[in-house]
Amino acid sequence: MATATTAQPAASKTALRHRLAERGIDRNLLLLLPAVLFVVALFVYPFLYGLQLSFQPQPGMDAAKQYGTGPLANYRLFFADSYLRDTIWTTLKLGLPAALFNVLASVPIAYRMRGRFRGKRTITTILVVPITLGTVLTAEGLLTFMGPTGWLNKVLLNLHLVDDPVRLVHNYWGVFFSLIISGFPFAFLLTLAYLSGIDPSLEQAAATLGAGWWHRFRHITLPLLAPGLCITFCLTFVLAFSVFPSAIMVGEPSRQTRVISIAAFHAQFEQYDYAMGSAIAMIMGAVMLVVIGAVFALRARFYRGATGGKG
């Protein structure tokens, strides 16, 4: 009798542990703790703080002067003032084409490089090195190379291909090139990884069934690659949309490349209007979310299962 009563609680205790384990709750869950703390401290809290700040216009600032201290004053000012509102369009005009270019350019190169061949590592290194260059170094390089007195213009002038130096920096194109230099390696690496995840025998099978290279790419590789390309696009787009240093250094930050992060910086650190700065940051986040949401809606229409390869 005595042994039965002492055995009882022990049995139910193990049973509880098993029941929890079945639902994936065990001590390994504690390993998540650092990540959870990190996300809460460095993302969730600042985000919520900024969000509530954006609804509390600072007295004496533009927004409060024009629209009162109601919660939406900052947002009303942003969308009423074309100098602020247009930064969305300016940034999209840079970010979308740059991200699209990076993805589209990486596909043929990665497609060509998916197999094993001599010198693959060298070529990959050359393509990926720009990722290690900081934005500032890239900007300086662009200025020296493509500026009015840079090598490119000297060559073009000496060959009499142009009469006046071509303006490729301190305008839209400077920033665009900078986004490609820093964004392409990233897109290329991702695309290459997605491509090598596709079983090469699928294309061989398509070939034996009479599909030439274009049809093999169009009907086999591309559909299997599309979901990966969507992710690649989103990531490079987010990088491009938050462009800031190169928009100032190789762009025309007062006009052509007055991107949304410049507007946020201006409000936050030059006017000391923290509420307005937060509001612009929130708008920036919302625009990115809309774009990413649209891409994911598109992605939902593609096949997303296994692709048979090592990926």
């Binding site: 079983d199 025998s201 699928l202 061989q204 099978a205 398509a206 070939a207 034996t208 069934l209 009479g210 599909a211 030439g212 049809h215 009907h219 086999i220 559909p223 299997l224 593609f302 096949y303 299962g305 296994a306 692709t307 048979g308």
Partner: protein, 370 residues
């Protein structure tokens, strides 16, 4: 009248087909002529060049020497998509984003077959491999055997002049492998497709093929019907691959015509000579040709391992001098039993210790091709 019929060819000729990888010959001068409707198996251990040969035929690998002729037309320069051969891959290589129907119809789509006819032929092919209920499923929803059926249907729906199969059954479990083997045989008989089948499983090759090509290190060892290869292997390699599990290398002591006696190591074996011998030779004996009794070629042995195989037992025994031998017997034995086994001399094949074929590959020439 079925919608799918094999495209008739009269012959496919491989003329000194060679392929090397970075200076290493994977396939050395493969010479074989395949007749229309024939089922030929390329057989050999892994790394023998059989898959290389198949990929060369499909056009997935360029040749480094030789030529391939289909009914008098040279085809080795053509891209795989221009050859129109059907190929079944080891891992099936089904398009994961297409339904069974779309997978099977893909080739017809690429060949711009009119919709009406394409639909009819896909329907016919699905029926042929008995996948009617699964036509709208995706490959991931199918079992391995069903996926293999789709792969076969996809390859034959185009009525290819030649079907290439690369170890199609090796990813299936034992029971399914037997079923699919029968299935492949049935489809071949129904359609009369000229088929080249690569495998490392001699049982599969023997049961399916009209003719076998045995390869080793890229070189042809023997070409012949299953019966020829099974009963008259030309060298010790083919013999051991064809189930002559016991090979004993001994000095030659006596030779009278075909009859050769080998002795040494406490053993004396008399058998029939299969090729020119040197000072030492190899006697090859099937496990099932040993009997547990005194008789010709008697050997004293001790039982070591007994495997139960139902009616029979597979037994590993050891001679007094330490040679391991294998035999199959209906007698019930136990480890430690001492007994005498024997084998009739006509069932003991004697081969050269250093096989000529391993060096020059010309053994194939003194085997009559059909």
């Amino acid at each position: 009248m079925p919608a799918i019929e094999a495209t008739r060819i009269s012959e496919l000729r491989l003329d000194h087909v060679s392929r090397s990888f970075g200076g290493k010959l994977a396939l050395d001068q493969l010479d074989v002529t395949i007749k229309g409707g024939e089922f030929v198996a390329l057989l050999g251990p892994s790394g023998c060049g059989k898959s290389t040969a198949l990929n060369c035929l499909a056009g997935l690998l360029p040749l480094t020497g030789g030529s391939v002729w289909l009914d008098g037309k040279r085809i080795d320069g053509l891209q795989p998509e221009q050859r129109g051969f059907g190929m079944v891959f080891q891992n099936y290589a089904l398009f994961p984003h297409m339904s069974v129907r779309a997978n099977i119809g893909f080739g017809l789509r690429m060949h711009r077959t009119p919709k009406q006819e394409a639909r009819k032929r896909v329907y016919e092919a699905i029926g042929l491999v008995q996948l009617e209920e699964h036509a709208d499923k995706y490959p991931a929803q199918l079992s391995g055997g069903q996926q293999q059926r789709v792969a076969i249907a996809r390859a034959i729906v185009l009525e290819p002049p030649l079907v290439l199969m690369d170890e199609p059954l090796s990813n299936l479990d034992a029971k399914l492998r037997l079923e699919m083997r029968t299935e492949i045989k049935r489809i071949h008989q129904t359609l009369g497709l000229t088929t080249i089948y690569v495998t490392h499983d001699q049982e599969e090759a023997l049961s399916l093929a009209d003719r076998l090509v045995l390869l080793r290190d890229g070189q042809v060892q023997q070409i012949g019907t299953p019966e020829e290869v099974y009963t008259e292997p030309v060298n010790r390699f083919v013999a051991s691959f064809m189930g002559y599990r016991n090979t004993v290398e001994l000095p030659v002591t006596d030779a009278k015509g075909k009859e050769v006696t080998l002795a040494g190591d406490g053993l004396t074996l008399t058998g029939s000579r299969r090729e020119e011998l040197g000072d030492t030779a190899v006697a090859a004996i099937r496990p099932e040709d040993f009997t547990v009794s005194d008789g010709p070629n008697a050997i004293e042995v001790t039982v070591e391992v007994v495997e139960y195989h139902g009616r029979e037992e597979a037994v590993q025994v050891r001679t007094a001098t330490g040679n391991a031998l294998h035999l199959r017997t209906e007698a019930r034995l136990a480890p430690g039993d001492r007994l005498t086994i024997s084998a009739p001399p006509e069932r003991v094949l004697v081969f050269a210790a250093e096989s000529a074929a391993a060096g020059s590959g010309d053994t194939a020439n003194h085997v009559p091709e059909d």
